[in-house]
């Protein structure tokens, strides 16, 4: 009798255990779904908003390049070519396409259909090939942001709007003539920032980000790994190392803007380093990344089995040889992962860079680490703050590009880890 009841109890317990296991697995699946769902929502939302920014409206115009304007007396001279009145040629072509625009006000609003960037494009075309002078060429003129937004259906024409009903009619005429085209938006990838949304691009910010990351990794990787190796392998465990450890952990939790304040006070005010420069941004982000790298590297080092260390010591390897020949190669994938995660966090960081002036409006593509520059997340912040409708989609597009960079970095981390781990 008792035997039977105890067996029943055992069966009941087993059932309960299985149920608990199933429930636990369900919780896991639910949490993963929520996390993935949030990520998809973010990326989906950005993609939906930003997708259109990858296309840009162009107006195809036949432009006459009069010989007497560009090469007076048949003489081709670079100075003259630079000074020439390209706007006038473009405008003339516009007027030819839309006849009957006579009043000055109407003309001005007609000219507003194309962007100032089109002039530059035309000039570059001519400078690149002077044989074009005297002929009639077809050029894809960048449409102004309002036209672009109108074509994309983001704004409507009407009084008080950015596009008047007259302009809408002209656009219709051009469109009917097959002169309106949507093309891949190369400006977005090749230009620096601009006040004109149709000319604004992320290339400047991307270069700024790369230069900043270069400085960050160059400083924080060797420093962090050296510090981790010393703390983990050489330092005696005593009160001092405890204090250092607590402080490093604290440093990892310090709000990033504090590092920006530090950079402002120390590197800009005291050392007089240039404002808005990737050099200073890189140093500040290196300080911010350092604790992450140290903590990750220490974890990776301490995960190396002690038996390997003992074997090496027993063979008569010096402490340095133990670390360099045996511990470091095994810990390297972990150290690398920590570094890339730290760098990825630094790549997405804005607050400390605002403090050191990397938030300035910078058109030029930075050429070195001391040139004024901005970075991708700050560029996003700047565009998100701009009133033009066209910047809304560009903000989302820039976010997509930043996310792509982050995903790429994490992918590299995974690939490198796999590659190094394969050495059994």
């Amino acid at each position: 009798m008792t035997e039977n009841s105890s067996r029943n109890l055992a069966i009941q317990l087993r059932k309960k255990r299985y149920a608990a296991e199933r429930r636990f697995r369900l919780y896991g699946i639910i949490s993963i779904s929520i996390a993935l769902g949030a990520l998809c929502l973010l990326i989906g939302n950005m993609a939906a908003k930003g997708w259109s920014a990858f296309m840009q409206t162009y107006i195809i115009l036949e432009v006459e390049l009069p010989r007497d304007g560009l090469a007076p007396g048949g003489k081709i001279d670079i100075e003259t070519l630079r000074e020439a009145n390209y706007v006038a040629y473009l405008r003339k072509s516009l007027r030819d396409n839309i006849p009957g625009v006579t009043s000055r006000r109407d003309r001005r609003s007609l000219y507003k259909l194309i962007s100032s960037g089109a002039t530059l494009d035309l000039q570059n075309r001519v400078l690149a090939d002077t044989k074009l002078i005297g002929s009639k060429i077809s050029i894809a003129a960048v449409a102004s942001d309002d036209v672009d937004q109108f074509i994309k259906g983001n704004i409507t024409a009407g009084s008080g709007g950015k596009i008047s009903s007259k302009q809408a009619a002209w656009i219709k005429t051009l469109s009917d003539a097959g002169r309106i085209e949507k093309r891949f938006n190369t400006n977005l990838f090749s230009n620096g920032d601009s006040r004109e949304p149709e000319l604004a691009g992320i290339w400047g910010a991307t270069i700024g980000s790369l230069l900043t990351m270069f400085v960050t990794v160059l400083l924080s990787f060797p420093l962090g790994v050296a510090a981790a190796i010393y703390l983990e392998e050489f330092a005696r465990k005593n009160r001092w190392t405890d204090i250092i450890e607590v402080n490093i952990n604290n440093l990892a939790a310090v709000p990033s803007i504090v590092f920006g304040l530090l950079g402002l006070a120390v590197f800009l005010s005291f050392f007089g380093l240039p404002r808005s420069a990737p050099l200073v941004g890189g140093i500040v982000l290196a300080l911010m990344t350092l604790p992450t790298i140290i903590i990750a590297s220490r974890a990776a080092l301490s995960a190396v089995p002690p038996s390997i260390r003992e074997a090496a010591i027993g063979m008569g390897a010096s402490p340095m040889q133990v670390v360099l020949h045996h511990v470091l190669p095994l810990a390297f994938p972990g150290i690398l992962t920590g570094t890339i995660i730290g760098a990825a966090r630094a790549l997405g960081e804005t607050a400390p860079l605002l403090m050191i002036g990397m938030v300035a409006f910078i058109v030029d593509i930075p050429g070195s680490i001391t040139d004024p520059a901005t970075v991708l997340p700050v560029q996003i912040y700047l565009w998100a703050d701009s009133p033009e409708r066209a910047f809304v989609e560009r903000t989302a597009a820039a976010t997509l590009i930043l996310l792509t960079f982050l995903i790429l970095m994490n992918l590299i981390a995974v690939i490198l880890r796999k590659k190094f781990e394969r050495r059994w």
Binding site: R236, K237, P305, S307, I308, R309, E310, A311, A312, I313, G314, M315, G316, A317, S318, Q321, H325, H326, L330, R423, W424
Partner: protein, 289 residues
């Protein structure tokens, strides 16, 4: 004074000359079944070891004769490994471990400040309880020691050292066609023999083994016991074991530890046939008799 020689013969003759100076060595524990001229390779005098506040070894006096096998036996936690690790100063790497007393190899103090620990560990090799080959190729495992100690002039010489070490460890036949494959991919017994090959590749004078067979099956164990018996001709061996038969089979001298005290040390056949201490008797018979 450290002798730079790695050739056992030379060391033996020098040590033999010094062993006459019994002022340091003392005259205890020299009862090696009548062979009086056995020289003492290593000796511990009045050895106390502390882990922090806790004392693990109490006044150990032990001599390790040259070219013989000394077995350390005793219940778990009695300090066998601790003693073994003192002999090549592996305890230096443990935080809070303090060693008092005197340990000598060929009459020179191994805790001498002027002594180079790295060189000492090249003279005193170690094989651990769990096989711990480096996560490198079989070749690199064996070549590592000679490389860092500069024992080979060129690649050919290194190849020869690797080959002969594997040969002596009885592993060459099994791995000769896959020297480039990972050492961690071998079986447990093969891994342990690889570790032995790695240890003898630097021609040490003494080899310390901490329960080298505890993770192995009887066949692999027999293999290694055979190997130990062969190695005795060239090396001095100290082995920790929980297996009484093994101690009886491979060793010439046996030391019984209990609660951090060296209870008895004598020729192996004496210990196993007529132990003088009843704790020894209890341990030998109580568990394995």
């Amino acid at each position: 004074m450290n002798m730079e020689n790695n050739r056992p013969e030379t060391v033996k003759s020098v040590a033999g000359g010094m062993a006459i100076d019994t002022a340091v060595t003392g005259e205890k524990n020299l009862k090696m079944d009548g062979t009086e001229e056995t020289t003492i390779k290593m000796s511990a005098r009045n050895l106390d070891v502390f882990y922090g506040e806790k004392q693990a070894l109490f006044g150990i006096d032990l001599d390790v004769p040259e070219q013989s096998v000394t077995a350390l036996i005793g219940p778990s936690g009695c300090g066998k490994s601790t003693f073994l690790r003192c002999l090549n100063r592996m305890n230096d790497t443990i935080d809070g471990c303090r060693v008092d007393g005197d340990i000598r190899i060929d009459q020179s103090d191994i805790y001498d400040r002027a002594l180079d620990v790295v060189e000492l560990r090249a003279r005193i090799g170690m094989v651990f309880q769990k096989p711990n080959p480096f996560p490198k190729s079989i070749y690199d495992n064996v070549a590592y020691g000679p490389k860092i100690h500069g024992l080979a002039q060129d690649k050919d010489e290194l190849d020869e050292i690797v080959r002969s070490s594997l040969e002596r460890a009885g592993l060459l036949k099994e791995v000769v066609d896959r020297l480039d494959s990972p050492g961690t991919g071998l079986s447990g017994g093969q891994q342990q023999r690889l570790c032995i090959a790695r240890a003898i590749a630097v021609s040490p004078e003494v080899i310390l083994m901490d329960e080298p067979c505890s993770a192995l099956d009887p066949i692999a164990t027999a293999h290694i016991e055979e190997l130990i018996d062969e190695l005795r001709e060239n090396f001095t061996i100290v082995i920790v074991t929980h297996n009484m038969q093994q101690a009886a089979r491979v060793s010439q001298q046996t030391a019984f530890f209990h609660l951090g005290i060296l209870v008895e040390c004598n020729a192996t056949n004496e210990i196993f046939t007529s132990p003088s201490d009843e704790r020894t008797q209890g341990y030998i018979t109580g568990r394995y008799g």
